[in-house]
């Protein structure tokens, strides 16, 4: 693929010295402050915070053990003893939702971290060195060519359905996509005048990557990260549906939805509650991501 259009010139407002606002206006603090200036972002942040707190302090939120089962009280409707009722093993749904947040957040965030970390390393290497590109990108192509869910099923079959395997199985297929994107950015940035300017100043490879290239990947990574987050939770659910997910004992919103599917017509709340949690989380992460992206990506900022 080749294209000869020059990147659009960033148009910028010209300010003479006396009119300039205080220094450091686009520092991290300002970015965060900026994010929280929008209502939707504030709500999202609050929701996420609550969910995170809930997962951290799960034992304080509920006194029930999410694994303790008692088929004698299975499938009970919400009651004082069981806030959201019980599931098909007679486990407390509320406790499972609360503790499930741990696993689901872990799967979501873990996948994002693994995918972004490895994707970034590979992306940087392939974007920077031609010969690495030739080799690694073929490997990535191969990895991408294998449907992710199938790879996950195979991995889970090999090493058993532990949390770690499932996490790896979900994250690995995401790596090539991240790598590809980072590589694209790095290759694009490589010819940016400010990168050349830094090389003129004698900046070496790693400082160059760190100072001048990676920051450009942040905005697209945030966007991709939010997708990966949502996709990971969904994939986990799909794997549970196929019987290759998180071990059934351990609660996660994904496997709760998969477990509850049999009761879709009879006790829809078994799907509904975890479903709402997933949607809330994904929605919040996305909104925050969007706002963050808008803040960090100069091209999305308002201009004439």
């Amino acid at each position: 693929m080749s294209s000869d259009t020059p990147a659009p010139e960033p148009q910028s407002q010209t300010l003479s010295l006396p009119e300039m606002e205080g220094g450091g206006a686009s520092g991290l603090r300002a970015v965060l402050g900026g994010i929280l200036s929008s209502w939707s972002a504030r709500i999202s942040a609050a929701v996420l915070l609550i969910i995170v707190l809930m997962s951290v302090f799960a034992p304080l939120v509920t006194s029930h053990d999410p694994i303790q089962l008692d088929p004698a009280i299975r499938l009970q409707p919400p009651s004082a003893a069981h806030l959201l009722g019980t599931d098909s093993y007679g486990r407390d749904m509320f406790a499972r939702i609360v503790y499930g947040s741990r696993i689901s957040l872990l799967v979501g965030a873990g996948t994002v971290i693994v995918a972004l970390l490895f994707g970034m390393i590979i992306g940087v290497l392939t974007g920077y060195f031609r010969w690495v590109d030739a080799v690694l990108m073929r490997v990535m192509d191969g990895l991408m060519a294998i449907p992710g869910v199938l790879l996950a099923i195979a991995l889970v079959a090999i090493s058993g359905g532990t949390l770690v395997t499932v996490l790896v199985a979900i994250a690995v297929p995401e790596i090539p996509r991240v790598a590809r994107m980072v590589r694209g950015v790095i290759m694009g940035v490589r010819n940016e005048p400010y990168v050349e300017a830094a090389s003129v100043l004698g900046t070496g490879m790693w400082p160059m990557v760190w100072r001048h290239m990676l920051p450009n990947t942040v905005a697209p990574l945030i966007v991709q990260g939010t997708y990966i987050f949502a996709a990971a939770i969904m994939t986990e659910s799909i794997l549970s549906f196929l019987g290759a997910g998180i071990p059934p004992e351990i609660p996660s919103w994904g496997n709760m939805m998969a477990d509850g599917r049999l009761y879709f017509l009879l006790k829809p709340e078994l799907i509904f509650f975890p479903g709402v949690m997933v949607s809330l989380t994904v929605l919040s992460v996305n909104m925050l991501g969007d706002v963050l992206r808008d803040r960090l990506d100069p091209r999305m900022a308002k201009r004439l």
Binding site: Q13, G23, A198, L201, P215, K302, L304
Partner: protein, 543 residues
């Protein structure tokens, strides 16, 4: 150049227009502007970058970004009809048919995925009921009128297949095909090289005379102004400073701001002589550069380039766009590897050197583009200190040195914690210069270091170069396509065309007594060669 057509009713009448941001800022962006344009008349709007020229012309088209800007007062009468109060539908009908616009950037003003024929045709499709064949005929004839060659082929071409000049002609054809009463041209030639600029200006003039169109021409180039303007409107930070007859403004500006602006235009008179007795800092010998693979995609961007820069000397490279100026500079800097030849820096050939660390400390480069050569995410301090720290200077010391250098380029050290976007173009260019000289190089390469700047800022930066050279005895390789700038500061000149040096020598000799027809053509194409802006008068004939 006065026009004798009906001068009673103006085609465009801007009355007390004020434009503000949404939500309103401390001060409106454009304040209480009034001026008229009559049929067949060319009014030039001049002023520094950011003075509100584009915003004003956008307002006339009803194209202000809806969520950001808004006209808060006044009227814009187009043949007596106030475009600010007409309906959205009526405004659309007026566009292109009564008032049309040519934008600054020919490279991006056209939709890259549609053929240019289609894009011109679209105007007719919206505003007329002509048949397809009829429209095509009209488009082709319009293309011929803007002097495009081989119109049948161009009709089918995509923008990227055309040169900048050709693209700008398409935009003009698009603007004029419905014979509008008013043409707004927002810096239509700024991105083009002098030769192309000259042709475009001639074209606009020609079409205007045929149709009696009223033209509002936005520019900051006084050369252009003096060539085409009937009247001039001077703007400064949203205020209309002064309007008047072209001749009057150029020769007897009433306002200080106008005086400053006009007198900032560099003179075509060469000022410096070569310093033949100084030691050679840089010698380029037989340098060639080929891009692409041998065979079909090969470009010979520079061939057999040989020249010398002496200590304390500013050597200019001039030539039109694409002539290979940057290529030579990049080879000297080793940002690209030369295909052949030697680059001798203080006696050492650096062309074959692998580890460039040592070399980089001695040669610095100021990039063509002040906007993109500073990392937008790093503070000025970080940018300035980067090189010093790379070469082992402790952070504190580097910071102090950076602060001192910043003051050298006339910026207070207090701005060090700010980010590039908080500076104007001129300031950024000064920061870029500071970043280069803070390294105390022996050789400075400045690639179009002032081309993107307003005349007033340009004048400051040029003075700064002079100043630094005098203070530090640095040598500069100064690349430009602006003959006035070259004349202003270069000791010696190298003229390039299509990758080859066609002529080189002392600035005075090259500019006043060019030996090569290409150099002569360049000089002829420069606008207003016969006006001495600094002294508000025509140049005395011949030297």
């Amino acid at each position: 150049m006065t026009n004798q057509a009906e001068t009673d009713l103006p085609v465009l009448s801007v009355r007390n227009v004020t434009i503000d941001t949404i939500p309103g800022g401390a001060k409106p962006i454009v304040r209480d502007i009034s001026f008229d344009v009559r049929a067949g008349e060319t009014v030039c709007v001049v002023g520094e970058s950011g003075s509100g020229k584009s915003v004003t012309s956008m307002a006339m088209m009803g194209l202000l970004p809806k969520d950001a800007l808004r006209v808060t007062g006044g009227q814009i009468l187009l043949d007596g009809e106030d475009v600010l109060s007409v309906s959205e539908g009526r405004m659309r009908a007026l566009r292109a048919s009564k008032v049309s616009m040519v934008f600054q950037e020919p490279m991006t003003a056209l939709n890259p995925v549609k053929t240019v024929g289609e894009q011109v045709d679209e105007v007719l499709r919206i505003h007329t009921k002509d048949s397809r064949a009829e429209r095509r005929r009209k488009v082709l004839s319009m293309m011929e009128r803007v002097h495009l060659p081989d119109v049948e082929r161009i009709y089918r071409s995509y923008p990227h297949q055309l040169s900048g000049g050709q693209r700008q002609r398409i935009v003009i054809a698009m603007a004029l095909i419905l014979r509008p009463r008013l043409l707004l041209a927002d810096e239509p030639t700024t991105a083009l090289d002098v030769t192309t600029q000259k042709q475009i200006l001639k074209l606009i003039k020609e079409l205007q005379e045929e149709e009696g169109t009223a033209v509002v021409f936005v520019t900051h180039d006084f050369g252009v102004v003096s060539e085409i303007a009937d009247r001039i409107v001077v703007m400064n930070r949203g205020d209309l400073v002064e309007t008047g007859d072209c001749r009057q403004i150029l020769s007897a500006p009433r306002q200080d701001y106008t005086r400053m602006l006009v007198s900032s235009v560099p003179s075509m008179q060469p000022r410096c002589a070569p310093l033949t007795d100084q030691p050679k800092v840089l010698e380029v010998v037989g340098l060639s550069k080929r891009y692409g693979k041998p065979g079909k995609s090969e470009v010979l961007a520079a061939s057999d380039i040989t020249f010398t820069v002496r200590k304390g000397e500013i050597t200019g490279i001039i030539g039109e766009s694409g002539s290979g100026k940057s290529t030579v500079a990049r080879c000297v800097m080793r940002l690209t590897d030369p295909t052949e030849g030697a680059v001798v820096l203080q006696g050492q050939d650096i062309a074959p050197v692998r580890n460039l660390r040592a070399v980089r400390q001695k040669v610095q480069y100021i990039f063509q583009d002040p906007y993109r050569s500073l990392n937008p995410r790093r503070t000025i301090a970080q940018s300035l200190m980067e090189g010093l720290v790379n070469y082992g200077m402790p952070e504190r010391e580097a910071r102090e040195k950076a602060a001192r250098t910043l003051e050298l380029v006339n910026l207070p050290a207090a701005v060090m914690e700010r980010y590039p976007h908080q500076f104007s173009g001129g300031q950024r260019q000064r920061i870029a210069i500071a970043r280069a000289i803070v390294m105390e190089p022996d050789l400075l390469i400045a690639d179009e270091a002032v081309s993107a700047l307003d005349v007033s800022v340009q004048a400051q930066v040029l003075a700064l170069f002079e100043d630094i050279r005098e203070r530090t005895g640095i040598s500069v390789l100064f690349i430009t396509h602006d003959l006035r700038v070259a004349a202003q500061i270069c000791n010696a000149l190298v003229v390039m065309q299509k990758g080859c040096i066609v002529e080189q020598g002392a600035t005075r000799d090259v500019l006043t007594n060019p030996s090569h027809p290409y150099t002569r053509a360049l000089i002829d194409a420069a606008p207003a060669p016969d006006w001495d802006f600094q002294n508000f008068r025509p140049l005395p004939l011949a030297v």
